[in-house]
């Protein structure tokens, strides 16, 4: 058994499995859904799905994999998919018929590996609409495998695809120019110029799939068989590219109809001037719909009217009634009675404050945010945004691709930190993780901050945004300067723009919201419970006194504010919520909100950070956030004092 890569868990495949493999945007996840009934996140963005999902179709276990353009150890998507393909019984290769010349590269690689395979040729309606002709029989003949035309989203061709699953066979044309295999799949001859040096080592490789990857110099396979890691896939890839082009040429006749409007709109979105105007429009729309409509109108109704108006009083009344009657019957001591009442319905009550917060405040905002994100993803706007801001992210040691984890951070920093895996180098992963955990407020925190900053007015809101953005840029610039090594450059295939499918948008929002609420709610519950216990035992007072000098003297906040930072250790938004009932002046609000934004990431995020980045970096980030939060907060107070003569 080869040793496992550190972060990746060994994925156990069941017997009789079918593995779905395809390029990003090939419609793989839709096919998976129609076979198994399981919904996975479908994104019009290369590389957003990194998880592996497994379902069932009849006696087969069906596995969905991250979308890739080829199989190698070059990035986490290809590595993940490759590891599963190596163990697969049968492959269902989903191919986007609109981009045959790109997609068949992976198909030929799978065929070269000798894998039993069927090709599902998706988006045949688009092909027709564009007047493109594809000779399916010829394609099937040239590839030596079954090719089934489908329109996955309309369920067309899926019954035929289902029928073909039992008949999946390896290609009848498995030989390629560089190597020949004998019938057992072992290695016979090899006319590659450097082959002799490797020959003896290669003969130890018994499976054809591993052998092919070894010939392509795959680092994992080379390590497994202790082979030198200096073989480049260039010659095999060039030859494969030639064959793909030849096949495409033979089977495809290009159509006449072009996507004029979509193309023009796509151009507009990446234009150095109009592109930013468009982005400003998108952001303004986000502000209007989430910042104004949801955060104010909707939350006012859910939090004030429903929660504080009906739910909380009702729960308080009935719980107290219940506790008192139980206490009377069993003669429970008063202190215990009070403690239970406090934990359940007190200031941080898990039945009152936690529920009101999670469902009254968080739920509407999180739904709003994820709906907006899903629209940006599915329309194909995100990759264009990545292009647009590449120039700026390069200065922070990242490239345009990092827009995905960064934007996801405004939803949930924990999830976003996991997504930094899609970045190419360790350096970029570290920078992105630091930026996320220092300076990106998640939707929960934004929710509380939006509600609070409204009291401070426009000037302070703008100042708040400017301070956080400047800090973000400064941190990125410093990290880029001092972290050794080089960051990678942007290479990103832009998918065509499309009208988002409402069903997909709703499902995606639902899945993400559920996940986030579960996680945020759980930690909030734990936090509320802990704070109540600390309060009851008097430890809270002690801690408050301990940090009082920093909070009161250095940052000019009232003594009570110390509580918010202690709460903030569990979750920043929990801390921010702590400011809710304090009567703060405008400048105190600014200091409080900036410092709590920069304060420690929530417990869930920290756990992920330890797992993804290791204890050294995670500890540095955690401790760094505390120092920075207090430092910046105090500096704002002092600078303000200079100008106002306090």
């Amino acid at each position: 058994m080869p040793s496992c890569h550190d972060e990746q868990k060994e994925f156990a495949l069941k017997k009789k499995n079918i593995v779905l493999v395809g390029n990003p945007n090939s419609g793989k996840s839709v096919v998976f859904h129609s076979l198994t009934g399981i919904y996975t996140l479908v994104s019009n963005y290369p590389g957003t799905t990194l998880s592996i999902v497994q379902g069932h179709y009849k006696e087969h276990s069906v596995v969905d994999t991250p979308g890739v353009y080829g199989l190698s150890s070059i990035n986490v998507e290809e590595k993940t998919t490759k590891d599963i393909v190596l163990k697969a019984d049968k492959i269902l290769n989903v191919v986007n018929a609109m981009h045959l010349e790109r997609e068949l590269f992976l198909t030929l690689q799978l065929i070269d590996m000798g894998l039993p395979l069927v090709v599902a040729l998706n988006f045949m309606d688009e092909v027709e609409r564009h007047g493109i002709k594809i000779d399916l029989d010829k394609l099937s003949h040239l590839l030596g495998v079954k090719v089934i035309p489908i329109v996955a989203i309309k369920n067309k061709g899926i019954p035929e695809l289902r029928k073909s699953l039992n008949l999946i066979k390896a290609s009848t044309k498995p030989l390629f120019n560089y190597c020949q295999f004998n019938t057992s799949g072992a290695f016979n001859t090899f006319n590659y110029s450097t082959a002799n040096a490797y020959y003896s080592g290669f003969s130890a490789i018994k499976t054809r799939r591993e052998l092919l990857l070894a010939l392509e110099g795959d680092t994992d396979i080379m390590k497994k068989y202790s082979l030198p890691a200096d073989l480049s896939p260039e010659i095999i890839y060039t030859e494969r590219r030639r064959r793909v082009n030849e096949i495409t040429e033979k089977v495809k006749a290009s159509g006449s109809k072009k996507d004029g409007f979509k193309k023009r709109l796509g151009s507009f979105m990446v234009h150095p001037v109009y592109g930013f105007l468009f982005l400003a429009g998108v952001l303004y729309l986000a502000y209007l719909s989430i910042g104004v409509f949801v955060a104010q109108t909707v939350v006012n109704f859910t939090e004030k009217t429903i929660m504080q108006g009906y739910y909380v009083p009702l729960v308080q009344k009935s719980v107290n009634l219940l506790i008192n009657s139980i206490a009377n019957i069993f003669s429970i001591p008063n202190w215990l009675n009070d403690a239970v009442a406090n934990i359940l319905t007190g200031e941080f009550g898990i039945l009152t404050m936690t529920v009101a917060y999670v469902f009254g405040l968080l739920l509407p905002l999180v739904i709003g945010f994820y709906l907006f994100l899903a629209l940006m993803e599915d329309s194909g706007y995100l990759p264009r945004l990545a292009f647009l801001i590449d120039k700026f992210l390069v200065r922070l040691g990242l490239n345009g691709k990092a827009i995905i984890p960064l934007i996801l951070g405004f939803g949930c920093v924990t999830m976003a930190t996991i997504t930094t895996r899609m970045l190419n180098t360790k350096r970029e992963k570290t920078i992105a993780s630091a930026l996320l955990n220092f300076a990106v407020p998640c939707s929960a925190q934004l929710a509380v901050i939006t509600a609070l900053i409204a009291f401070a007015g426009g000037f302070f809101t703008l100042t708040y945004v400017m301070i956080i953005v400047s800090f973000f840029v400064a941190l990125g610039t410093v990290l880029n300067r001092f972290i050794p090594g080089n960051s990678s450059s942007l290479v990103l295939s832009l998918p065509s723009l499309q009208v988002p499918q409402i069903r997909n948008i709703i499902l995606k929002t639902f899945v993400r919201t559920k996940h986030f609420l579960y996680e945020a709610g759980l930690w909030f519950l734990i936090g509320a419970f802990l704070i109540s216990v600390l309060q009851l035992t008097g430890i809270l007072k002690f801690l408050e006194n301990l940090i009082e000098p920093v909070v009161v003297v250095w940052m000019g906040l009232p003594k009570k504010a110390a509580l918010a930072y202690i709460m903030g250790i569990v979750r920043r938004d929990f801390g921010a919520a702590g400011f809710y009932r304090m009567a703060l002046t405008q400048i105190q609000l600014l200091v409080a909100l900036v410092s709590i934004t920069l304060f420690v990431p929530c417990i869930a995020a920290i756990l992920i950070l330890y797992k993804e980045r290791g204890s050294k970096i995670a500890t540095l980030i955690w401790a760094g956030t505390i120092i920075t939060a207090f430092f910046v907060g105090g500096m704002i107070f002092r600078i303000w004092g200079l100008f106002n003569g306090i």
Binding site: Y69, G70, F105, T238, R241, V270, K391, V394, V491, L492
Partner: protein, 74 residues
């Protein structure tokens, strides 16, 4: 000449992709030496887009100096 010497919406033939990992990456995506591509949306000191057949590929500014091209007129 290098890709950095071209202007936006110019049609060029790719002569040599000097960076090996970029070359391998592009081979997978469907672009190789000898292909005729259109450069679009070249942002000064920033990224650019290579158009090839039905594909649009965004590349970072570092790649500009890694690709040798020739004017193509036809």
């Amino acid at each position: 000449m290098l890709l950095s010497d071209t202007t936006s919406s110019e049609k060029v033939k790719l002569v040599e992709i000097k960076d090996r990992s970029l070359k391998i990456h592009l081979l997978k995506l469907g672009i190789q030496e000898g292909d005729v591509v259109t450069i679009s949306h070249k942002v000064s000191h920033g990224p650019f887009i290579l158009q090839h057949k039905s594909q649009e590929i965004a590349l970072g500014s570092k790649n500009l100096s890694q690709i040798e091209v020739r004017h193509y007129s036809n």
